[in-house]
């Protein structure tokens, strides 16, 4: 019987020599080595989405940018994660998100513990130079325990993925396309009338912004509790 061997590779990330196993992504390896690459749609334990484009990095020898979340490491690769050019693109992308819907931090229930807000702070987005769209969007408060506020949604689809992949309910999905895309419950019914929603709250706790929240009054109640995800992922891997 032959023993499966996993090939190991060495590469450079931001000038630092690092080693990894074949098949690991740039993002995984960077995080293992405490190199920060910003992400919004990516979440450990959920499938790859590749939609926020914040994790784009430069690879020496290619004029193109690569999304670190979905690009596997290769032997001898030289990765730059934080050049001036990358910072500029990332800032523009975050500004695009702010301009797309009504992200009014001051009156948002997630103010202070929102990933979009902290991302903007981290990247130094102190103003938005794109015109705001101010779309008229609804808030779904039909559910007794949760609230879906489309004004704060960045369409990262973490909720869609956790609902389908981890909870197995597939209550959440996306309707429409392009700028008109919107998160829906079942076949675009009020959340409170959903027959498939198990009320597990996983979607709420993976949501990076104030789009999905538990109904409550205290600030502390709005903190996202995400510990279940690595635990469930580990359980699932052990089951294999």
């Amino acid at each position: 019987m032959s023993v499966m061997t996993v090939q190991s590779l060495t590469l450079k990330i931001d000038g630092k020599d690092v080693s990894c196993q074949a098949g690991q992504t740039i993002l995984e390896v960077a995080r293992e080595h405490d190199i920060e690459i910003p992400t919004l749609c990516w979440l450990d334990g959920l499938t790859l989405w590749g939609g926020c484009r914040l994790c784009v990095v430069e690879v020496a020898g290619s004029p193109k940018l690569f999304a670190a979340c979905g690009t596997a490491c290769a032997e001898g690769m030289e990765v730059t994660t934080n050049s001036e050019r990358l910072q500029k693109y990332r800032k523009t992308i975050v500004e695009m998100l702010f301009s797309e819907r009504n992200h009014v931090c001051a009156v948002c229930v997630s103010n202070g513990h929102c990933e979009l807000q902290s991302m903007a702070q981290k990247l130094g987005v102190n103003h938005v130079h794109l015109p705001y769209r101010y779309p008229k969007l609804t808030v779904d408060s039909s559910n007794d325990r949760f609230r879906l506020d489309h004004n704060r949604c960045i369409l990262c689809t973490r909720c869609v993925r956790v609902c389908g992949e981890i909870e197995g309910a597939h209550t959440k999905d996306v309707k429409g396309r392009g700028i008109n895309s919107q998160i829906i419950n079942d076949l675009d019914q009020p959340w409170g009338e959903s027959e498939t929603c198990t009320g597990c709250a996983k979607c709420v706790h993976v949501c990076p912004t104030g789009a999905l929240t538990e109904r409550g009054t205290a600030v502390a109640e709005m903190n996202k509790k995400r510990q279940f995800l690595p635990y469930l992922t580990l359980m699932r891997e052990n089951d294999k």
């Binding site: 590749g50 695009m96 369409l155 392009g178 700028i179």
Partner: protein, 557 residues
């Protein structure tokens, strides 16, 4: 069916038509059918029956006769005489003229460069046989390439032949076909798929539709040869539902071929088996992107996903999948029949063979043309296309649809090949060619294409979803006389971000129409902006976002 039977069938087809003194071909593709070529064919049939000439003259319902804007087209004796804009009432006159002087009021010069400068490889038989008749298709050579491959060649030899030919993907990006095939052939999985991309979505493009409607068996043959070469068992043709006639003809062709064992478990009596099914696209442009197309076939939302893994390694149902465009598959049979070396003699050093173009817009001769790679844009537009109508001046030609760019007069002498078109800021694309005259407003052209991209963006990645929206808004503002110079700066910045950071080809190429018009027609943007600024200054309100019309006066209702 055995190889011998195929040859017998071909001979029988020859015989079937040999005794006719004359053949009248009526175009039955979407363009001509929409101007009622079906009634013309019926009228000709009736008239022949009335005259008792059924054994002398044959009426055939055939594929495209090229001059689409002047349909219904009728061709006598394989293009010796061509008639345009034929009506059912003309049946008698056309039949009277058979064997004598053609009807001059309907006649088109068959020796016009529009026809003579074409080089037909993909469409070598189109317009000369009935695509709904398997016997007639086999008569002109259908499935002979497949027979040759199955009886005389190994899969490796087939791939070598395609590699020698230098054929590159006709979907737009121009990836070497031989290399793609060998990657799929080397992939380890025993289950593999062949996918034909017939989701032609560029505004103004109809090349693939014409191939599917005019010669469906050739597409199936190309797919079967590919399946043999890479070791696939199943094929899927993804056609947009807006092409009902193509779907009908392909379905019919699949049924005919399956009945005759040209598709199925034991093709031509060999152990090789291959089946094909059709999937309909529901009209999303992004489904022409290969990973979105695969998701759509699997029954999921048509969204692209990051590559790698490439479909060649992990495609349909996670199996190795070969995806080629309709026109690419239609190039396979002639390469096998005549050899890769023959094919590689056509075209330029890096772009081999011919290319189909849908010539549309402000041009005298609109229609479908097949030209050798390396021909200049000037030859296409001025010699073949007959130049610009109404004595107007040429301004630009748009190639590559919403992913392409506008090419001005000064670059008309570049050869048409993948690299040259890219060097002037456009792309080959799938083959749409829209000619514009000096009445065209280039800012509006850019706005039109951006409107298309924004409404076709799937919404998965942020730069494409939000960036195309903002770019369209800016272009609309500039075009409506509400633009500012800051808008122009922002537009350039957004072009760069969307192009560089988008997930798939749609977003990565969406800024191209803007970038190319900015490159060649920047003055038009500047003129519109300075006029808008002057208007605002005259209105005494430099900050008002709303331009107050040309009079500079706000009207209060």
């Amino acid at each position: 069916m055995t190889p011998e039977e195929l040859q017998t069938l071909a001979a029988r087809g020859q015989e079937k038509f040999a005794h006719y003194k004359h053949v009248l071909n009526v175009c039955m593709e979407s363009g001509c059918v929409s101007s009622r070529s079906d009634t013309v064919a019926d009228a000709l049939d009736k008239e022949i029956a009335k005259r008792g000439a059924k054994e002398q003259i044959c009426i055939k319902r055939v594929g495209c006769l090229c001059s689409c804007a002047q349909g219904p087209m009728v061709s006598q004796d394989d293009g010796k005489v061509l008639y345009k804009e034929v009506k059912a009432e003309d049946a008698g006159a056309i039949l009277d003229a058979v064997g004598s002087k053609p009807v001059s009021r309907l006649q088109m010069p068959a020796d016009h460069p529009f026809f003579t400068k074409q080089l037909r490889v993909v469409r070598e038989h189109a317009g000369k046989f009935d695509p709904e008749d398997l016997e007639d298709s086999i008569r002109v050579g259908a499935y002979h390439g497949l027979m040759k491959v199955l009886t005389q060649m190994t899969p490796a030899e087939v791939i070598a032949e395609i590699t020698t030919s230098g054929l590159r993907g006709r979907g737009g990006a121009g990836f070497p076909t031989g290399l793609k095939w060998s990657t799929v052939a080397k992939a380890g999985n025993p289950t593999k798929y062949i996918v034909c991309n017939g989701d032609e979505g560029d505004p103004g493009a109809f090349m693939d539709r014409s191939v599917m409607e005019g010669d469906p068996h050739r597409v199936l043959e190309g797919m079967a040869i590919a399946a043999y070469a890479v070791g696939a068992q199943k094929g899927v043709i993804y056609v947009r539902a807006e092409y009902p006639l193509a779907v009908k003809r392909l379905t019919r062709a699949i049924n005919q071929a399956t009945r005759q064992e040209l598709l199925g478990a034991n093709i031509l009596g060999t152990k090789f088996g291959f089946t094909v099914e059709i999937r309909l696209g529901a009209g999303a442009f992004v489904c022409g992107e290969e990973t979105a197309l695969l998701a759509s076939i699997e029954g999921r939302r048509g969204l692209p996903r990051p590559r790698p893994p490439f479909p060649a390694n992990s495609g349909l149902y996670n199996c190795p999948t070969l995806i080629n465009n309709v026109e690419t598959f239609a190039n396979i049979a002639p390469i096998i029949n005549k050899g890769g070396a023959w094919f590689s003699k056509i075209g330029t050093a890096k772009s081999k063979g011919t290319k189909l173009f849908a010539l549309t817009g402000k041009i005298v001769n609109t229609g479908l043309i097949e030209v050798p790679m390396g021909i200049s844009l000037r030859e296409i537009i001025f010699d073949m296309g007959g130049g610009i109508p109404d004595g107007r001046k040429f301004k630009a030609v748009q190639t590559g649809g919403p992913s392409g760019g506008c090419i001005p007069e000064k670059h008309l002498d570049i050869p048409v090949d993948y690299e040259s078109l890219a060097s002037v800021g456009s792309i080959m694309g799938s083959g749409g060619m829209i000619v514009m005259d000096d009445t065209s407003n280039m800012v509006d052209v850019a706005r039109f294409f951006m409107d298309f991209c924004a409404s076709e963006s799937c919404g998965k990645c942020v730069p494409c979803r939000v960036g195309t929206y903002h770019m369209h808004e800016i272009l609309r503002r500039i075009n409506d006389g509400e633009g500012t110079s800051a808008d122009l700066m922002l537009l350039r910045e957004l072009c760069d971000t969307v192009k560089t950071t988008s997930l798939c080809g749609l977003g990565q190429t969406a800024p191209n129409p803007v970038l190319s018009t900015l490159r060649y027609f920047e003055q038009e943007y500047l003129d519109l902006i300075s006029r808008a600024e002057a208007t605002r200054a005259a209105a005494g309100d430099g900050h008002s976002k709303k331009a107050a019309g040309t009079t500079g006066l706000e009207v209060t209702l």
